[in-house]
Amino acid sequence: MSHDVFETKDGLKLRKLVDLKPTTAKEYQDAMLHRVEKFSKRQDSPFNDFIENTVVQGLRFILDSKVKIDNMLGENKEKVQNIIEKILLAGL
């Protein structure tokens, strides 16, 4: 809970600034995983789909590498993005 609270003359407690730090960050991250767990219990759940799970793992790896490459590209990132976009839209 933020401590940056002041009281108005009418006794209202207001925050000067919201610090945007959750005290339940761990529970929050778990909430997403619990959701997945709940859905996984259903037979037709996409979270049990072997192919999809493999693709997601693959994408995770690609994204990791992509973030590293982005950092290396620096200012040229946008140029490269434009070229890739053109390729992706070509022939559609």
């Binding site: 209202l12 945007l20 005290t23």
Partner: protein
């Protein structure tokens, strides 16, 4: 807002023509929306009742951006409409022909059913309340079933349903109604609530578990602030905070982890609590999925001066969020009209073969942003730290433009030569085509993604399968902050009405279902429609709640019997 930076459009004063209604006689009149004195105003004149002027936005630059259009970019969209339910009879057209009439250009995305106008509270700005109206409106289970069927049988059916009221949870058969909605195929079952059923000291937790198991997914939870004094001003009840906290606690214990805090924003009363509500949401992020601000709508006759004092717009709310969060959630880089993701949604739905979600409401209706926890700093940051949203949207728009209509033009090549076997081959070709499109689209999305992590995994699942489970898991990793400014007779713009995506369904005595956009229902149609379905009220109904305490008289009597009075120490 890079689309409009440096353009002539930005330098010119905003001006557009539209149609509205006279707040006095409700007749249709011309209106203009203009930029004046650094603000955007609607101006209109009724030949009989004179001039009216109402503020639409306090931020012209932002407003202009949301109304900017090029071949590739526009927030003003038309939906993939369902066939109309009726042929409009009133020659004046929209908004008198609800509905849905042939002029409507969006599909319903959120179906609403008023379950009752009974309520345990008596809020001063509420429109639907048995005590105020003097009659009871409460559809039977058969009526509700009919309305659900009506919505779900459309070619593009809504995926979400919300129960409204009154207070929906005062109905004894509420769990049954939730189960019924699931049976009809609604993926997301939501109830608007002040928390009544969930907060009960005796049995509230068990009840919460029961409705969750029955199919309730989300609470759209009335939450105006964290000070008792604020809630007393808006709801007329003392010491409400304990009541509100019990709802959150019971949801937490029951595993119902999807609560959206709904703050009605009233100038000088609840607007000061905007930051408080953000902080409350963050402190309870394990169960709170979002915040929705609703700038209050104005009813009845009010003077121009009163209007100036009371009117608060979406832009005011957004700027207040920015101010009260120390600039962390800024108007210039975090907020987007709901219609931003239309093309994105269409692509996902086409590629994954699921029901589309079409947020084609008018850009003045609603704005949203997502916050996520940065695992490194543990601080909540706008989702822009994870994505480049404008680039994603730009790419989606271009991509959709290229592939649009593909679903209607499936390959039928082999079928012509080798009959049934050819059909199978064609299916294969179509499947392969979709896969290559998926790869292209996913690669495009990855381009504009900045950080890896669990959230991104959920995002890619959403793109891959478009299933509601993936959307739900993704939203469980985020906090959605949105603002929807419902219209009233002063600012009603028929361009907004026609694009409305939030529709009431009412089972009519003649066996039909009356479908009406939320804003036209509340501004124009409610009194007429309700009178047609109203039942006489009884003393039992009138006296079942002590509306100064928000509790059932029965429960209060029990409390007195057990421990000598409710909330003794709080009094």
């Amino acid at each position: 807002m890079y689309h409009i930076e440096g353009t002539d459009y930005l330098k010119q004063k905003y001006y557009t023509k539209t149609k509205s209604i006279c707040p006095e006689c409700m007749d249709k009149i011309d209106a203009i929306i203009v930029e004046e004195d650094g603000e955007i105003w609607m101006k209109k004149t009724c030949p009989e009742h004179g001039d009216f002027k109402d503020k639409i936005s306090s931020d012209p630059k932002y407003y202009k951006w949301t109304h900017y259009g090029t071949d590739e970019w526009s927030f003003e969209k038309n939906g993939e409409t369902n066939p109309p339910d009726i042929k409009g009879k009133d020659p004046r057209g929209c908004p008198y022909n609800c509905g849905l009439c042939e002029e409507h250009i969006s599909t319903c995305q959120l179906a609403l059913i008023d379950l009752t106008n009974r309520c345990n509270m008596n809020c001063n700005f509420c429109y639907a309340n048995v005590k105020k109206s003097g009659y009871l409106v409460e559809p039977s289970l058969e009526d509700i079933d009919r309305v659900m069927k009506h919505f779900r049988s459309k070619p593009i059916p809504p995926v979400a349903i919300m129960f409204t009221g009154g207070e929906p949870t005062v109905r004894k058969d509420f769990p049954e109604i939730c189960a019924m909605a699931k049976k009809h195929g609604f993926k997301e079952v939501i109830t608007a609530t002040n928390g009544y059923g969930f907060q009960k000291k005796n049995g509230g937790l068990e009840w919460t578990k029961k409705v969750y198991e029955a199919g309730l997914d989300t609470l759209y939870f009335q939450f105006d602030g964290i000070n008792n004094a604020t809630l007393e001003k808006t709801r007329g009840i003392k010491n409400l905070i304990g009541y509100k906290e019990r709802v959150i606690e019971n949801c937490r214990k029951a595993g119902l982890t999807s609560v959206v805090l709904v703050q009605t924003v009233v100038k000088g009363i609840t607007d000061v609590e905007i930051g408080n509500v953000v902080q409350f949401a963050i402190d309870n992020i394990d169960v709170v999925r979002g915040i929705t601000y609703q700038p209050v709508s104005l009813c009845g006759r009010i003077t121009a001066e009163e209007m100036q004092d009371l009117r608060i717009t979406n832009a005011d709310v957004i700027k207040e969020v920015e101010r009260q969060t120390g600039g962390k959630i800024g108007i210039n880089n975090s907020w987007y009209p709901l219609s931003t993701i239309v093309e994105f949604g269409r692509i996902v739905s086409y590629l994954a073969g699921v029901e589309p979600i079409e947020f084609t409401c008018h850009p003045d209706c609603g704005f949203a942003t997502y916050l996520v926890v940065d695992p490194k700093t543990n601080e909540m940051v706008p989702i822009m730290d994870y994505f480049d949203p404008l680039k994603i949207v730009d790419f989606s728009n271009r991509f959709w433009k290229k592939i649009k209509g593909k679903e209607k033009k499936q390959v039928k090549f082999f079928e012509n030569f080798v009959g049934d076997f050819g059909k199978t081959l064609d299916k294969g070709v179509n499947w392969l085509d979709k896969q290559q499109l998926k790869v292209r689209f996913l690669t495009g999305m990855l381009q504009y993604t900045k950080k890896p992590g669990k959230l991104m995994e959920m995002f890619s699942r959403m793109l891959l399968n478009g299933r509601w489970e993936s959307v739900s898991a993704f939203t469980h990793g985020t906090l959605l902050i949105s603002s929807m400014h419902f219209q009233d007779a002063y600012n009603l713009n028929i361009e907004r009405c026609k694009r409305c995506i939030v529709h009431f369904g009412v089972a009519m005595p003649d066996g039909s279902v009356f479908e009406s956009p939320f804003c036209t229902m509340n501004t124009l149609h409610r009194p007429v429609i309700e009178k047609k379905v109203a039942k006489a009220t009884t003393d039992k109904v009138n006296n079942e709640f002590d509306t100064s305490k928000g509790q059932a008289i029965e429960d209060l009597a029990q409390e007195v019997a057990y421990n000598g009075g409710i909330d003794k120490k709080e009094e």
